[in-house]
Amino acid sequence: MLDVIWLVPALPLAGFLLILLFGRRLGEPKSGILAASMVGGAFLVTVGAFFDLLSKSTEERHHVETVFSWMPIGSLKVDLAFLADPLSITMALFVTGIGTLIHLYAIGYMHGDPKFSKFFLYLNLFVFSMLMLVLGENLLVTFLGWEGVGTCSYFLISFWHTRESAATAGKKAFVTNRVGDWGVMMGMFLAFGAAGTLSYEGINHAAESGAISGVTATAIALMLFVGACGKSAQLPLYVWLPDAMEGPTPVSALIHAATMVTAGVFLMTRVNPVLAVAYDWAPTIIAIVGVATALFAATIAVAQNDIKKVLAYSTVSQLGFMFLAVGSGAYIAAIFHMVTHAFFKALLFLGSGSVIHGMHHEQDMRKMGALRVLMPITAFTFIIGWLAIAGVPPFAGFWSKDEILLYAFAKSPILYAVGMLTALLTAYYMTRQVIMVFFGEARWNDHSEEHGAHGDFKPHESPAIMLLPLVVLAGLSVVGGALQLPFTKDLHFLEKWLEPVVEFGEADIHESWAYQNKYVLLGVAVIVALAGIAASIAVYAKKKLPAVEPALLANGWQYDSSIARFMGGPGRRAFEGVAWADRTIVDGAVNGVGQVVGATGQIARRAQTGAVRAYAAAIGLAVVGLLVWFFLRGVVL
């Protein structure tokens, strides 16, 4: 199966092309089923590749499949090649697996939408791009996928483009991503300059053997991190992710929870030898940005009322955790959290989509309540997702979050403290969400007229095709922690699997205080999670304490409006200054040259008198001049 690893991105690409040509004819639901089966097929091939890799010994788990030589230009040799190693197969597995589930879900969710086929067209294109990203053998194939997912994100966010807010959100996502893309490009140029190649093997090998200097490695790592900040929504480029909730919920689940936003973490993990060779303050910056983003987003999530916005800020926060792990040298923990987060965040988003669908597209949580009676399966699976993200054992999120915090403590207790505070807030706002949506009094009766409802408005459970993925993901959220349990070395499946990829960059914390006392920290984590849940219940369920939801947090610390004010005011003046310079100086220089030529021509024109004798005189003078020269050369000198 490893030989045909190219099938993995090829199948969604085929789906894209088929729907492009025949989508309108296929219609609903055939185009959806086609798309889902393509991604499902890719998943099966990936599973086959996984077992193939498993059958090899640890050192041999590194298979490169070259499709064709893409750019042989002098010393730059870039192939369109796929790399099947533990990291890329892990990523491909959950991208295709969760992708298939979400495709199935979307068949139900997008029912009745006039642009049904187009949705699956973009979804397949997205899966193709994402698979190029993770399976790429070199930075350029990854970048191809990187740009592809950005473009598809734009298409899908502004899917209902007739709505102004959706169109604006799409543009915002694209532009912010572009700023990050600049970082990736600079990183690529520097990497090529330092290592002479763009392939991961070449770059990592160069880093491990010391061929890349500390300065260059730091520059490469930080530039790639800028790209990761854009794609994975960290400070200061996170602003597009909350707005991206304008897209349909399957999009939010697939792209903005499980797959695209993890691309940044994946990229940093791929080049972990470079990060290891860089100066020590580079990973520290990454960790600080990660944990700051985590806390920042968590505070905002506390005050949001839109069911999807809470989850969006939650995603930003959890991604912050992953970067905290990367910065602390805990790549395996980062990947672990990425996988578990994919499970429970997709579950939460799909669940919220189910709620929205059942509430006839109402998204304000203040108008929901007591839905667990009317939507039992949705509620049940959502509660499992809630427990996972809040960090309650034995659900998946607890184990992965704890692993990260362990490494964070080993790096610096301050990072640990901030991370713990964020975990507390996570438990708090997620509990708030669950209570507001599924428990309490039913508040949807008061607003039934606004929905154009016919008589009695009653929220209903979603169809089976939407509930199936919820159940599957809930199951995975329960057992997902088994990938890497901290109790004994034998249970560290993920670590053993990923070790060949990250062994150079992985931090060794066996000697640290944190590792010796990991069960203490485990207990602290449990207590913090339960405390957060209890506090939230006290505020929102029992109404014993007042709710703290200041407007500042609801507005996202005024971050968006500050950017808008800056860009509209001083920013605009700067841009107009640059435009003026271009018009006057650059264009003026170019036009000026033309004018000088014309003026010179007018002056030179006066020599053309048309009188033969004047020309003869000129010839005569030239002859005399020549004679002088020859005379001086031959006779005098």
Partner: protein
């Protein structure tokens, strides 16, 4: 006087004379306005060149100089024929024109 009578002209004298004749011809071309007279001055210049060729042929003992003069004369004849033909055609259109009146190339 006796010294002068016994001095014989060397080829250098002929060359110098040719130079002077050439200069006079050049001045004539620049100063005269009548096209026919300008042409005659060009003939003066050609004759100066012929003279210098013959003088050098004598000095170097090479008959090639005289052959060259032969060909120069032939070509000069052809040139005069064509040149006068052109002058005739122009003068027919504008009788009494001088070299200064023909300014069609003025830019």
């Amino acid at each position: 006087m006796s010294l002068l009578a016994t001095a014989s002209p060397t080829s250098t004298w002929y060359l110098l004379l040719a130079a002077v004749l050439f200069g006079i011809g050049a001045v004539g071309v620049l100063v005269r306005r009548n096209p026919l007279v300008m042409f005659m001055c060009i003939e003066l210049m050609l004759n100066a060149v012929n003279l210098s060729f013959v003088a050098l042929a004598k000095r170097l003992g090479d008959i090639g100089g005289q052959t060259t003069v032969f060909f120069v004369m032939v070509v000069a004849a052809a040139e005069v024929v064509v040149g006068l033909g052109i002058i005739v055609s122009i003068m027919r259109k504008r009788p009494g024109a001088t070299a200064d009146d023909i300014t069609a190339l003025k830019g």
